[in-house]
């Protein structure tokens, strides 16, 4: 039988040990999070004929439409790398946006379950990350298709994207944890995030190359924007280019700082969450 739930002890107060134990136990029960994520996806596409292909299809449609228009705006007609740039940008963005939007309700949506069965809170965050990662992997089939259509040869540097994806996932987990906890307490956060996310999309180099900007604007929007770095470390290798070293440093910095903040948030909120739901 299961090992967890055999001994339980609770004392009040901010406990980093309890927070770390929650995360460790949550990671250990990753098959549970994976199963929940898989059910979420099946649920989402249950009565649809195309199922998750919809997500891939809408990506292709969006990419084609944007490529045609932006090619002219940016003067990149005929460059086979531009549609690839847009497609990968949108692919990564849909992961980021999915994690951030759904993080708001990652605890709120499962209030009854949280008030009935004691499972690590981090399981709910992993569920969110797994779900978005499955969709991301599914959408990634666009990549080889595009390489063939655009006649772009794949480069070995593309394998470096795996490191980027790892960094992306590590960041998604703390973002999910922090936003989920704070949203459960402050119900103004979900609409605030929904609003600012759209704005962020336009000021983040998803559709346009940051090289087109210059000076201070460029540093703010591209160099120090964590989302820009996140896109950079995944997209650049897949396009056959080495990402900027700065992007890696920015990502590593954010991962460490974010996890530090997430630990503080979890230590403070873990015991109170059930009361806020």
């Amino acid at each position: 039988m299961s090992l967890h739930n055999c001994y339980y002890r609770a004392v009040p107060g901010t406990s980093f040990r309890a927070a770390i134990a929650d995360i460790a136990e949550g990671c250990r029960s990753w098959p549970l999070s994976g199963l929940m994520a898989w059910f979420d996806i099946r649920q989402r596409y249950r009565r649809s004929v195309l199922g998750p292909l919809w997500s891939t299809l809408s990506l292709i449609i969006f990419m084609s439409a944007v490529s045609v228009v932006y090619c002219r705006l940016l003067g990149t007609q005929g460059d086979p790398y531009y549609p690839l740039y847009v497609a990968l940008g949108l692919l990564i963005w849909s992961f980021i946006a999915g994690v951030i939007t759904e993080a708001c309700i990652c605890f709120i949506a499962h209030d009854r379950l949280i008030r009935e069965i004691r499972i690590p809170l981090f399981c709910h965050v992993l569920r969110l990350v797994c779900r978005n990662l499955i969709l991301f992997a599914h959408n990634l089939i666009v990549y080889p298709l595009l390489l063939i259509v655009l006649e772009v040869p794949p480069e070995p540097v593309a394998l470096l994207a795996l490191a980027g994806i790892l960094l992306m996932v590590a960041n998604a987990a703390w973002v999910g944890l922090v936003i989920g906890l704070v949203s459960a307490r402050f119900r103004d956060l979900p609409p605030l995030i929904a609003n600012s996310l759209q704005l962020t999309f336009f000021i983040t180099p998803v559709l346009w190359p940051p090289a087109m900007l210059g000076g201070v604007t460029r540093s703010i929007v591209a160099d120090y924007n964590p989302l820009s770095a996140m896109i950079d470390v995944v997209r650049n290798p897949l396009m056959g280019q080495l990402p900027d070293a700065t992007s890696y440093w920015v990502m590593v910095g954010w991962t460490l700082a974010g996890w530090g903040g997430a630990l503080v948030a979890l230590a403070r909120c873990r015991a109170r969450l059930a009361y806020w739901l």
């Binding site: 009935e116 004691r118 119900r187």
Partner: protein, 259 residues
Amino acid sequence: MTSSVDLYNVSVEMPVYYRTGRSIPRTLVTRLGGRITRKQQHADKVVALDDVSLHFRRGDRVALIGSNGAGKTTLLRVMAGIFEPVRGSVEVRGRIAPLIDISAGIEQEATGYENIRLRSAYFGLLPGELAERMADIEDFCELGEFLDMPVKTYSAGMSLRLALAISTFFDPEVLLMDEWITAGDLRFLDRAHRRMERFIEQSSLMVLASHAPDVVRAWCNKAVLVERGRIVAEGGVDDILEMAADRQPFLSGAADDAP
């Protein structure tokens, strides 16, 4: 492993937020505003449990007796590890089987089988362990082909059978049950009743929140009287029921109504 439940001077306060209390601007404003608004910064608190100490051991069949809002369900949730105390500490040994809100976590869009798999994963069962118990679950729910249908197509009775089946298919050690079991829904479901009895017998420690004296007499060997979040008395079932009837006359009325 021996089962035990220990509560040491546990207090629980429920924060109650009204619309303004939960918003970020409000918190910012009160942080800035200083003294006058300080008071409003904190949400109202309902003291749900006040300095509760309880110690249950293996073989205990405990009834939590008290009127609505006395804190029975909160007490169960504290033992289940859902609500953590603001003061005092809790220690529970043994695998906890919560039957507080059994339909919680049932996905309406998912099929019966999917819900069985999900629930077994919540309790950390391995797929092999679930397979061993599957025949028993299928046999008990009597849902047949409906197990392949989404739960939202089930009737109320069918959902209840599924909820009961997936909450009672593993060996409980510390069984925490709320009074829904006495609500009468199950009484006409004879098989459900017998399954519950077996499940209770298997558990090494049970805590049942109820205000139906006949249920308490049938299943419990110990009782605790809870009133406004405090333990008023602890002792034998008959003594406590008598005491409860004196203090809360409606309980004796419930005894008369009981079949």
